[in-house]
């Protein structure tokens, strides 16, 4: 394994410490010492290794888990070559553990789940970023099917349309943003579904309850219409879709995460998340996943990548200081050589202030440059926990 190209002495010490911790954890895992509880203290399910996923059922909702989201980000190009970045996120959060219901629950007006959703559109041509949130209880205006991917929040929806003769399955996304933008996109997976983590479980912390089942379509073709200021235009591009469910996303001492999805023009993808500790350091459970042309995934630990911040952007609205220009250096497992990716936001202000959900974050469309400053791909970068710690919220 090639050493990472940065290495002042203190960092090397830190790297060593991280490796030791990771090794110890791996040892514990292998010996079965870290017993994985089936339920959290509140009674929600804990992701279990070896879960056998069944589709399309597992594209649907898992109400036995406290938190779940369906996350789509992508880049679109219109007929006139205008570029757009978009985000559509459907969150589910349980209010009561499975088996219990609040007293006023009814089919149309439930009280056991709350659905939050975000839609955003960025136009690099104009520099304009708009977003909107929606929040609804489970019932007539917000739901997620437990049988297939069929999620809705108000007038926003994401549905799996089953394959029919001569037509592959696809995902239908419908949304609007602040009554200015409407889009209807057909998303067709171009690579097979990826399940991140080990044995179906994506660990986030030493506490085994801080883990998730993390399913991703790393590359989907996106085509449809974008309505901007009452004008319809055909758009096409590529998207990334995550579906993640868990009952806890952060462990003790963690305050947030930086997440990155890269779609390189050469057909490869990378997913990276850096779990951040209170002191700003990278948690040993952070990871980078390389996805090759065939969709094969190899994950590496924090000893094999480096996430460095090149510039910050401070929000005037929330005051949060986001490290939004980053360089990711990671060992490519296929070549055992490091590769470097500069991730540069298309627009500086892509902050979702989180008035309804209570969590503000930055989620932005970016371009990916190599060391020669050549654009080699597109990315979406997510920066959370910079306004306030997310501990206890996820």
């Amino acid at each position: 394994m090639t050493a990472m190209p940065q290495a002042p002495t203190p960092a090397k010490k830190h790297l060593l410490a991280t490796r030791l911790v990771a090794a110890a954890l791996l040892l514990g895992w292998m010996s079965g010492a870290a017993e994985i509880p089936r339920l959290t203290a509140d009674g929600y399910a804990v992701p279990q290794p070896g879960r056998y996923f069944v589709f399309p059922r597992d594209h649907g909702s898992h109400p036995e888990f406290a938190i779940e989201w369906w996350y789509i980000t992508g880049h679109l190009t219109a007929a006139d070559q205008s570029q757009f970045g978009f985000q559509a996120t459907f969150f589910r959060r349980a209010l009561v553990p499975p088996g219990l219901t609040n007293a006023s629950s009814s089919a149309s007006f439930g009280s056991s789940q709350i659905y939050l959703a975000h839609m955003a559109l960025v136009n690099p041509g104009t520099g304009k970023f708009i977003f909107q949130e929606k929040l609804n209880r489970d019932g007539w205006d917000a739901y997620a099917s437990t049988n297939t991917m069929d999620v809705r929040n108000g007038n926003w929806s994401l549905r799996l349309v089953s394959p029919q003769a001569g037509r592959p399955e696809f995902y239908q996304l419908q949304g609007t943003v602040a009554a200015e933008v409407a889009f209807a996109l057909k998303l067709i997976p171009r690579k097979p579904l990826v399940i991140f983590g080990t044995n179906g479980v994506s660990r986030k912390a030493a506490d085994p309850r801080a883990s998730s089942h993390y399913l991703t379509f790393p590359r989907l073709s996106a085509a449809g219409t974008l309505t901007l200021n009452e004008t319809n235009q055909a758009v096409a591009g590529e998207a990334w879709m995550d579906h993640e469910f868990s009952s806890s996303q952060l462990g003790a001492g963690q305050v947030g995460w930086d997440w990155l999805s890269l779609q390189l023009f050469d057909g490869r993808e990378l997913m990276a998340y850096r779990l951040r500790r209170q002191d700003g350091s990278t948690d040993p459970f952070s990871t980078v996943a390389w996805i090759d042309l065939a969709g094969k995934v190899v994950q590496i630990g924090p000893d094999q990548f480096n996430w460095s911040v090149c510039a910050h952007w401070q929000s005037l609205q929330s005051g949060a200081d986001y490290p939004s220009l980053v360089r990711l250096q990671a060992i490519n497992p296929a070549t055992s050589r490091p590769e470097s990716f500069m991730v540069q936001p298309l627009v500086a202000d892509q902050e979702l202030t989180g008035k309804l959900g209570g969590v503000g974050y930055w989620e932005g469309a970016c371009r990916v440059l190599d060391e020669n400053k050549t654009v080699i791909g597109r990315a979406y970068l997510e920066l959370t926990g910079y306004g306030e710690s997310l501990r206890g919220k996820f």
């Binding site: 959060r93 209010l95 609040n102 007293a103 006023s104 629950s105 009814s106 149309s108 007006f109 009280s111 709350i114 909107q132 949130e133 929606k134 929040l135 609804n136 209880r137 007539w140 205006d141 809705r152 108000g154 007038n155 926003w156 929806s157 419908q174 949304g175 609007t176 602040a178 009554a179 200015e180 409407a182 209807a184 200021n229 009452e230 008035k355 309804l356 959900g357 209570g358 969590v359 206890g392 919220k393």
Partner: protein, 886 residues
Amino acid sequence: MAASNLSVLRLLWSRIAWRHWRLSPVSSFLLLLILAIGVAAFFSIRLANRAAVAGFQNFTDLVTSQSDGLITAPVGTLSETVLLELRELLGNAPVNLLPVLETTAVVPDRAERQTIGSRPTFQVLGLDLPALVNLASQPDNGPGWFSPATEGKTNESDHGFSSVLRNPQSVFISAALAKRDQLKSGSLLPLIINEHLVTLRVAGIIPADPRQPAVPANLLIMDLPALQQLADKPGQLDRVEFVVEAGPHRSAQWLGIKEKLAAANLTNSPRWLVGSPADRRASAATMTEAFRLNLTILSLLALLVGLYLVFQGLDGAVVRRRGEIAVLRSLGVTSGQIQSAWLVEAAGIGLVGGLLGLGLGWLGAQLAVKMVARTVNALYFASSADSAAFDFREAVIALVISVLASIFAGWRPARVAANTLPAQIAVRAGLSNFPGGKLLRRPQLGMALILLGMALTWFPPLRLPGGGRLPIAAYAAALGWIFGAGILAGIFLGELGRGLHRLKMNSVPLRLAGSHLRVPSGRHRLLVASLVCAVGMTAGMAILVGSFDTTMRGWIARTFQADLFISSDGAQTASSASRISPATWRAIVAHPAVKQANVIQVMDIKLAGVSTLLVGNHLAFFRDYSRPAWVEPPDSDDVFNPDLNSGLALASEAFSARFHMHRGSSVPVPTRSGFRHVTIAGIFADYGNERGSLLIEQRQFAGWSGNELAASLILALQPGHDAEAMRAELRAAHPGLGVFTSGYLRGESLRIFHQTFAVTYALELIGVVVAVAGLAFTMASLLWERREDLNTLRALGLRREELASAAAWEGALTAAAGVVAGLAVSLALGWLLIYRINKQTFGWTLQTDRPWGQLAALALLVLASAAVAGWFVGRWAARLPAEREE
């Protein structure tokens, strides 16, 4: 030229107007006060009307800032399943759908005997609370729910609404209620909803939007599914409101949504009616339009009487100032300038009196609004009005009326003043030359007005949009009769004076008084005419109210024949949404002591866009225990037979008048499954509401409306069972029900009926007060003009007391002429009010009853007031020096 005109006007104003006003401040103030009372009566009723209607709000506006539109069920409630269907129908249109359920609630009262309507009614709004945050997030909307400003916030990441979901019996209250009843987050609020006694936890304060009216104290907001349970309406909605997301194309978006809603509606059996919050507010306004117009017209009575006096005041001033006018004329002031000066003075009186009236009117409105709101509550809808805000537009209208009416009243005196010749400087202005009253001396004119009035009684009412009717021709007839009788009464006054003269009585004061009345002056005639107006209208109203009272007593005695009458204890007004759940009424009906029961269900429906009531009833029970008085009796007993009456209905008289329908008419009734036709089998007299009622068999009602909630329950008990004992048993078993015996309910019905006439009584009283004050004012004016005669009489040896007695007699005799003619015209007005104005407005036939005792008391009151006022004025006048200017 214009400048010189202005300087002349200024000179005239200071010489012949302002100087006189300063010299006689008391009479000047009295004149202004009389006009002010007239304006105040009008202004206070207008403000109270406005407040009572404003009290009906589309409460969701306070939450949404204002919805773009709404849908309601063609009949009854919407099923909540319509929501998903609507969302699918509208695709990704950026619109928030706001399901709403509304009901009413009251605070429990454990008193054994309750006064119906004494407890304030809360309007309870059921909304999808978590979804409200989506509205607050929009830039056009106000501060949000579950925000730090709302007391219900907790530290939870979901902004606190999960605590509301965990504790469904939570309620958000207004800041006004929190302050009034010292409630805060966590306080407990006991309420009755339907027949359920519930204790709700205060979850927070309803966020106030500064761009909306203040949240009224009587508004409560609950989570919708929790209210559905409490109101016994699971799965039901009253309406769905649409709030298009803020953006540059909001109106276009709503138009597109409306088109989709219309296209999805089946034409034969519409699933929903598309409307707007403005429609709801407008329907509240049109529903009460006739009632409010009637009150406004009644409030003009005092102003009308006041105008007689302004006319008198200005006319008297012309006489008093004639000398100065003649001097000015001889100095070259033109007649046009004199006339302008008088008209400016009249306008000034109107302005100052009007301004004073606005102040008095605003104070009066605070009293009137409660009375008006009580009537609106009893007859139309829940109005939360308890104070009337000053309204600039209404103030301008009142001021303009005051000024224009004063100019109108001053027109003739101004012309008389302008025609004063310079030569008249040498002539002492005297009564013999009093110019006013030429018209009043023409009995032909009086007769013509009366005949014209008679002709006008044949005209139909003006039909207002929304079903209201305004008997405009009948009002014109009343005016014709009042003016005509006023003219004829002057002739009667002369006859009275001559009659006294022929009696050759020894009493000097009486003979003196009689001598002034033998050839009554124009001012006497005007005074009599104003008294005829006040007494005629007051006595006429007394006849109407008396007839109403007698009719109501008969109706109440007939209607409340059964043993027990049960409703939700929350039903404090006619518009209350409180109902009795089917489980409860079934349990009561099954009680072994119950011989027969009538389950009454009520629902608002619209026929051709006009609102009315569909009532489910056991029609045979209705016949046997309510003993209706038939306006058009049924031809057969089929309508009372549940096996035969499926296509038959009974209609109230108000229904018949409102929709021009009679026995045999077919009525298309909107139901959940389209229109069903029923034939009217009979028409009965009913005084419960003016919108009209269509009675069908209860079983059919339940099928057509899809609900079994009862508005009330009437029980006939088995022989040997005591109603009081049964009442106590039911109250103990169902503390959320109001259980009344027939005797008690009769008393309460009469009390509520009298309460609704409180405004009428108040307006009548104001009319009489103005008339009596006017009498004193006119007497003072008359005696002032005769001050030389008074001095002569004193020189001849008459004492002050004798002069005072003479004035008292003169006042009393003048009043007598006014009272006699006023009472005569009141009999005609009573007929007009009962058979035309009331019938055309409300569609109710009343049994005529003349409350002779009240009429006699009114006559005595006016006569005694006139005598007393005359006596005091006479004493004052006896001291006047002959040469005092004013």
